[in-house]
Symmetry: C2
Subunit: 616 residues, 2 copies
Amino acid sequence: MIEDEILIIFQPKNKSIKVPKGTNLIDAADKAGIIIPNICGRSGKCGKCKIKILQEKIPYTLQEEVLLTPEERSYGIHLACQVNAMTNLLVEILTEEKVTTTKFLTYDLANEFEIDNHIRKVFIRLKKPDIKEQLDDIENLKSSISLPTRQISIPLPVLQNLSSFLRKNDFGGTFVFSDNSIINIESGDTTNRLFGLAFDLGTTTIVGSLVNMFTGEILGISARTNPQTKQGADVISRVKYATSEPGGLTKLQAIVIESINEIIEELCNQAEVNFREIYELSLAGNTIMNHLFLGVTPKYIAESPYIPAFRKSQQFTAEELGITIQPRSPVSTLPNISGYVGGDITGFILASDFHKSDKIILGIDIGTNGEIVLGSKDRLLCCSAAAGPAFEGGHITNGMRAMEGAIDKFNIGDDQAFFHVIGETDPRGICGTGLIDVVAELLRVGVINITGKIETPGADSLPSWLQKRIIVGEKNNSFILVQENESNLQKQIILSQRDIRELQLGKGAIAAGIAILCKELGIAINEIDQILIAGAFGSYLNKYNAQTIGLIPAIPAERVKYVGNAASLGAKKFLLSQKIREEADQIINNADYIELSSRPDFQEIFAEKMLFEPSH
Amino acid sequence: MIEDEILIIFQPKNKSIKVPKGTNLIDAADKAGIIIPNICGRSGKCGKCKIKILQEKIPYTLQEEVLLTPEERSYGIHLACQVNAMTNLLVEILTEEKVTTTKFLTYDLANEFEIDNHIRKVFIRLKKPDIKEQLDDIENLKSSISLPTRQISIPLPVLQNLSSFLRKNDFGGTFVFSDNSIINIESGDTTNRLFGLAFDLGTTTIVGSLVNMFTGEILGISARTNPQTKQGADVISRVKYATSEPGGLTKLQAIVIESINEIIEELCNQAEVNFREIYELSLAGNTIMNHLFLGVTPKYIAESPYIPAFRKSQQFTAEELGITIQPRSPVSTLPNISGYVGGDITGFILASDFHKSDKIILGIDIGTNGEIVLGSKDRLLCCSAAAGPAFEGGHITNGMRAMEGAIDKFNIGDDQAFFHVIGETDPRGICGTGLIDVVAELLRVGVINITGKIETPGADSLPSWLQKRIIVGEKNNSFILVQENESNLQKQIILSQRDIRELQLGKGAIAAGIAILCKELGIAINEIDQILIAGAFGSYLNKYNAQTIGLIPAIPAERVKYVGNAASLGAKKFLLSQKIREEADQIINNADYIELSSRPDFQEIFAEKMLFEPSH
């Protein structure tokens, strides 16, 4: 072992890793393949990255004193972000981010479309050169191609290989064209094999799909937590990291590309495809993710007047970006509509065919920002509502993201509360969808009123088991979601009055955004024909409860659909069809982006939409 | 000093260099900045790389035993290519390649043409973005450009810099376009500064010219011996090296690009131009040099049916090729006419305006291959004659290239012989032009006859001083060019019968090529209106003597012109004008290449042209 290196062993998986002295535990865990959740960019504020240090005693930082209970500290629980390891450590992981891929694609939206690949493979056999007809190899090739244009270009590495290739392969081979450029030559006739990748680059999760480019068949899906979450859970903290840390932008780009490469390797192994057979990649991310992916500063998106460097699809080669597929393959971002309505929403629109619909569709993708699209083939409007972190479990006393240990469903019965925990384990906290269920249920049974206040119960207003769950405080009350003995952290999971306010701000922002788009389109809210909810959040959401609290319009529930990972599907359609690429360009040119912050009526509508009541 | 490193000191310059044990002395010298001539690719056959090893005694190889006299060996003279240094050595350099740049450009041909640059610089001030008109930076830029097309493309590094650049520079800057691609942005208004480079990549010498792209003014010229000469003096030995040595092709490309970069650095320093201000480079080399420059194997040019990978101009970026100018600048090769009539000849044609001429012009570039062009605006013919190494001093007993110490002119007076030595030093050998002079003079005075035979003089046929110079041998005679005391190697410089045969083969091949082109064009040799002789060789050539021996047609001598480095001038015109690039494409499409080896009449004409008599 090198001097100044220390050994860290992570339990219960017994993974060990050598790191330089002073390495932060989040980085050490990452190196060991374990992602510890952290949503504050390691500032010691979110308290999400709890771990337990066994055997050793390490002093606590001020942030830890604030966020950890004396009991937790007595067990050796620390915030991983506050520990820079100076000696060998034995660390117990309490919370690990895990991604389940099952819900990433729904096939409701897998509508038919014509495959019209940008990449073309053609088997060509050239004439053998003879001394009389002195055609050089390129001229010989050009004269053998029956393409509309003969203006082909040949990249340097292909030119360097051309002469030897032809002579080793009896002057025949499969030529791979991207537009008029021959990006590779393969031995033999391989015109029946062509693969591509569609990526959804989410702020939280990266999902890659390996696609057979002739049939559109998905050969595999793989996902990773976006490693940039270590530099902050939301886009704004990443912009801060990119612009204020030296080398921050380069690092954010590098780690996301590394993660993409890991996904590609996994997909290739599973499907027995060689990475060199992958000739195209499309990627749908929000505007800031797209900028970071290309190493373009997102700084000016985050400050007024919120201008991105680009909206249109950007295309570079895999080689330029360091992506390990066939080096000269085109890698394209889906076009962004605005700084806060990105390529993921363009993907959602493409996947759902909004832009071809006779009906008026409302599309929502709920996260830290709630992106909202409204319209039909006649007109498309969109906006981004600053929903805050509540839907992702941020700023919530026992909040957490929708991962193992999170309460994602909650229901109040006659004599007890029922809840569901992701991963079927003991509950460790509550995620956004659980929160919506809780508030809807508490509204229904009368624990809270439409202003969101947890009322101090009167004598017989509630069954006694429910009354006992209300903790009456000096100013505000709280509600016990899970009793101490039910939780794996041996403590209560509670809902505070402040937690309800956080949710209220988030739901108010989204509902106000929807209302303003309806107003702008000149329709009443109940004239919406269909609601599509995208994203992982939508998959866990109870639509009835979402309507009860007024998060989404109260149209007949059968017309509300979860569409899962629509961005991935949009990226796949973009990957496979040049016509759809043109449609994407038209979408971003024609969609009207409404900047909510510049609307004089926003504050009033927002205030109104803060109430927990159905929205009509 | 690291173990296994040894120290080599080169005298008389007292340059010392540390190299790994076993390093070949040619490499060691190269590392010390000294180029030792070697034309056989270090096979120990040419005997050109003599050096003297002081103090140490080193055993001789078989090749050295053959090529060095016992006397030379007694002095410690070795062939550098045969010595792999195993201990510290003190080495005296006897012959160093030096390049004089004075003769590289003649201005006879600097005909007027319109500058029409491919690279455009435009100062653009963009609108400042506001929150209402949400134009992204690229859209803002496009809307500010008054170019015919708005289909601009922005390379990744420029995109990565765009947003910050605009905000640091008050949304204004100088945008540099190559076609529709913005390859760089410069602060402020720099539209009055734009530089380019024209290179003549010769088999022996690389010449670079730094050009003001607005005026065409040449700001500096710099030259280097082509470092590939270490891997063989002629193109065929380089093809062998590239195809048979592991990594040979890569190495040949790397060293020539390194040399080009050195020339660029020198030119930039002299002219006070920053390398980032250079936005274009054009390069004229023969077909094999062009292939090696791009790292494309020249293997199939060297074997039947002699097919190059490309003939047309190839354009890549400086970055792709490792050339240190503005990274995304286009670097273009001049188009080749055939495997053995390359971009240098296209440059010669462009420089001389053959393709626009009413008169019939004969153009000759003499080297190991003699490239010949004949024609006018109506029709252009060309061929390559395998002249062999005689014109470059190869296979000649005391032959050497036209460098310091070489007899380049020779003249027989009434009672003595006069000669001129390049560099005004003592003579060390004779170069091609000197050889032509010698043969012409010996013909004139009757020492040799038109068959080239050195006759054994009869009693009073020659003055006695001249008779004494003829060494009568058993089979063949020789002629003493320089007496022992006049030479700095303390030995005679002689001309053997075999040397004359070598020259005869070379001159026969070229004269036969000319005769065949005339025949093909349907003219008599004396119907040629003008002869242009290009290349360094031409600059030293005595045209009267060249006509006497029948190397060039015997048309009135005032119509024979030396045009010096026409390839450089052609590269410069190609650099500065898009129209001229189109002309170059037409030239290679329209010029008829005659493969001499496939002509049934070649042998007969060749035999006839071996005679030393004027060619009509």
